[in-house]
Symmetry: C2
Subunit: 255 residues, 2 copies
């Protein structure tokens, strides 16, 4: 109960996923990271008071951070009933991926035109970081950095509305990956990211888009969206019991 973070002033400046300095940015970043790293499972209730104690700030700050997370779709805000970590359904996941395809295609085309040398340099650096995370076996950081790569790519496209949309899509994608990714953890391969940068640097739009679409295919295929791992639709979960009554319930179904 009494475990509380440090005074929390500018603790995460340039640390972890933190933005600049204000308190809600810090809270936002920490919660977001916890969700990505699955320390907060989908469906988990996010009590305002509890979070306030943990971070050593008042509910006002927490509330703003939650509102922001809700805007990006990684948290569900239910009026009068508090916030929970979003648990996107298969249908929602499909919609996010469809939207991402559209946006990534546009971003790639724009990046080929507008990316500066500095953009490309930063992109390469991010892929390095990503590779390092995976070799360290830090899955959460890997997912996050992979997302930040795509976000940085959007920035290279130099279109503010697309950047903000991409931010939301990447957040949701990360959550979906964390929730649905099947066993093999070799996702979002940094090789593909590197090739993509090469194509952009060569200003080869067709090739870049081709690579990006291929990349999206890979991400898609790594998820098992066909069979939901855990559903809140009781009928769906127990559908196998409805016909052959005799079957015994699964012994260790992790709900």
């Amino acid at each position: 109960m009494n475990e509380q973070l440090q005074p929390l002033k500018k603790q995460s400046r340039s640390g972890k996923a933190g933005r600049s300095g204000t308190q809600d940015d810090i809270v936002y970043a920490h919660i977001f990271e916890a969700i990505l790293e699955q320390r907060l499972a989908p469906g988990t209730k996010l009590s305002e008071e509890a979070l306030g104690e943990i971070f050593g700030v008042s509910r006002t700050i927490i509330r703003r951070a939650l509102s922001r997370l809700a805007h990006e779709g990684v948290v569900l805000l239910r009026p009068n009933r508090g916030a929970v970590v979003a648990s996107p359904s298969v249908e929602e996941a499909r919609q996010v991926f469809l939207a991402r395809r559209l946006v990534e295609k546009a971003i790639t085309e724009l990046a080929v035109v507008h990316a500066t040398a500095d953009d490309l340099l930063q992109l390469r650096k991010m892929v390095q970081d990503e590779r390092d995370s995976f070799s360290r076996g830090d899955r959460g950081a890997g997912i996050r950095l992979s997302g930040e790569f795509h976000l940085k790519l959007a920035e290279a496209a130099k279109n503010a509305p697309l950047i903000s949309f991409q931010r939301s899509l990447v957040s949701q994608t990360s959550l979906i990956i964390a929730q649905y990714e099947s066993g093999n953890r070799s996702h979002c391969s940094y090789d593909e990211h590197m090739q993509l940068i090469d194509a952009i640097e060569a200003r080869d739009a067709a090739q870049a888009v081709h690579l990006m679409m291929h990349h999206m295919d890979h991400i898609d295929s790594k998820l098992n969206l066909d069979e939901e791992s855990a559903s809140d639709d009781l009928h769906a979960v127990f559908s196998h019991l409805l016909q052959t009554k005799g079957k015994s319930p699964r012994p260790a179904a992790k709900l």
Copy 2:
């Protein structure tokens, strides 16, 4: 100072642009509408306390509404310095329009596949309303309804992320139109909207997309994005003075 609205409980349910019932929705809708109808000019300061008095609510509610408006890009939130009505630059306007083209294309293609009979019915009804507003000469309502048409179209496309992005884009577009539209006020012609619905109903994707792109061209061409009507770049504003010094300043330049 003392002019205040009615108790404001559920006053705008089904009225004007109001959503369901909560207070911040009402405040949000009213401010948004005021911006669209240019009763609030770009750059106007939106004081929390003043708005609170006007709407008869505390700053808490106002703050949420402003935050939401800021998320949609029609209000600019400057830390420690309050909120102002956004005044998109020409460059920002171009970016919004570019993004909209991309999204409208995708939405149209999806709507051709997914629009239900009921969707089409509602769309037709909205075009009717739009036409009525214009014949009444209600410019603000016209812009708003025209935007709502495009938003409804996004809903017909059945993709949640795209809907939310479209909402933001439409809001910003409306603001841009209000700010930049040149004299002739025959914008966003409902004829084009009607034809678009026909093409969608006929499930003719190519034709629908063609019409939509044409529609976007029309909107673009009605704006004079080349010469900014009012700029905050002093060098740009007074560039004509920099060469021929003798010129006298304009007598009644409204800054």
